[in-house]
């Protein structure tokens, strides 16, 4: 009975991940920025209502993650981002979440539930426009210690891709990795 149960779990899980791969494959785009430009600065309220200025993180490697609580691929990424923040905090990584939810309430609940360990601010349409239009989620920007955008990822991104780019940037590289994207 137990064996049959595990076979059933494996079959369902296989279907789930097959669907997941199929659904995400045509949607993910990664762009290595050839001539990095300064990340547009912003000052936005965090979940406690305090203003967060992006430029105050100059000197750190910043992963700027546009997301929303209702966005399934965004939700799937969050635990991996939490791990990355834990792993590389002392080496100068700062992840900043920009929620594109319409209000902070669901974000606060989500923040607690998922034990998020990096600041989240409430984004606006203006913030999206500053970054070339955030017209689909998730979108992540990788910003070097000099404040310049080195990479843009549209759609769910494998954590290993983020990690390679982050490590490279922390070592003073340009954020590119072996994918050559």
């Amino acid at each position: 009975m137990i064996l049959r149960g595990f076979v059933l779990i494996l079959a369902v899980a296989g279907l789930y991940f097959a669907l997941r791969h199929h659904g995400a494959s045509d949607a993910v785009r990664a762009t290595r920025v050839r001539e990095p430009s300064l990340a547009p600065d912003f000052s936005l309220p965090n979940l406690k209502g305090q203003e967060l200025e992006l430029s105050s993180y100059r000197g750190k490697v910043v992963l700027l993650d546009f997301w929303a609580t209702w966005c399934v691929p965004c939700r799937e990424e969050i635990p991996h981002l939490v791990e990355l923040q834990n792993k590389y905090r002392d080496q100068g990584l700062q992840i900043i979440g920009v929620s594109m939810d319409d209000g902070p309430e669901p974000v606060r609940d989500f923040y607690q539930t998922f034990k998020m360990n990096y600041p989240v601010v409430m984004g606006t349409a203006r913030t999206g426009e500053l970054y070339g239009g955030v017209l689909g989620l998730p979108i992540a920007f990788l910003i070097g210690r000099d404040g310049r955008i080195n990479a843009k990822h549209i759609g769910a991104t494998d954590v290993s891709v983020f990690e390679k780019e982050i490590v490279n940037l922390m070592r003073g590289g340009d954020g590119s990795n072996s994918r050559g994207s």
């Binding site: 009975m1 137990i2 149960g5 595990f6 059933l8 779990i9 369902v12 899980a13 279907l15 789930y16 669907l19 997941r20 199929h22 659904g23 995400a24 045509d26 949607a27 785009r29 929303a68 209702w70 966005c71 399934v72 691929p73 965004c74 594109m100 939810d101 319409d102 984004g123 606006t124 349409a125 999206g128 426009e129 239009g133 955030v134 017209l135 689909g136 989620l137 549209i154 759609g155 769910a156």
Partner: protein
């Protein structure tokens, strides 16, 4: 193996299967909309261009922040249909309309298979008896599949 151990194993299996199935259904519900109820972006643009075609009532059922950045001109913002408040707003908006009204629903928040909003909206309208509803098939997101294609866009509320 004693009875309690078998019971625990059984419950574990049932729980795990339930979690996986629930996640799968929630994540991929847009993919369950029959293709006969879909309309492509270029198909909708042709209708909007044509003087002879009936102009549909276009309703955005996603995020307001995304709508404010860019939306289809003359489309209306209703709110995320994945929430009960969004669904209520949708039902209230269409309630007085004839059931053969041509309605196009769209979102574009996420890749199609991950969109949590279009399927509940489509289901709600069909449950109300609407017979001429189409859902705009946006493969990746509204930016890539509409704005970057050069189709008409409006901004603001």
């Amino acid at each position: 193996m004693n009875f309690s151990c078998k019971l625990c194993s059984g419950l574990l299996i049932v729980g795990a299967v339930s979690i996986v199935l629930t996640s799968a259904v929630l994540a991929y519900q847009a993919a369950l909309i029959p293709s006969s109820r879909l309309i492509s972006p270029d198909g909708l643009v042709e209708i909007l261009k044509s003087a002879k075609s009936e102009t549909p009532l276009m309703i955005q059922v996603g995020s307001h922040v995304l709508y404010t950045q860019a939306h289809i001109p003359n489309s209306e913002y209703i709110g995320p249909a994945s929430s009960e408040s969004g669904l209520q707003a949708l039902r209230k908006r269409v309630e007085p309309l004839p059931r053969n009204t041509f309605i196009v629903l769209y979102c574009g928040c996420c890749p199609w298979s991950h969109c949590p909003n279009v399927k509940p909206a489509d289901d709600a309208l069909h449950a109300m008896g609407f017979t001429n509803v189409k859902v705009l098939y946006i493969a990746s997101n509204f930016g890539a599949d509409w704005v970057e294609k050069g189709y008409p866009v409006a901004k603001g509320d």
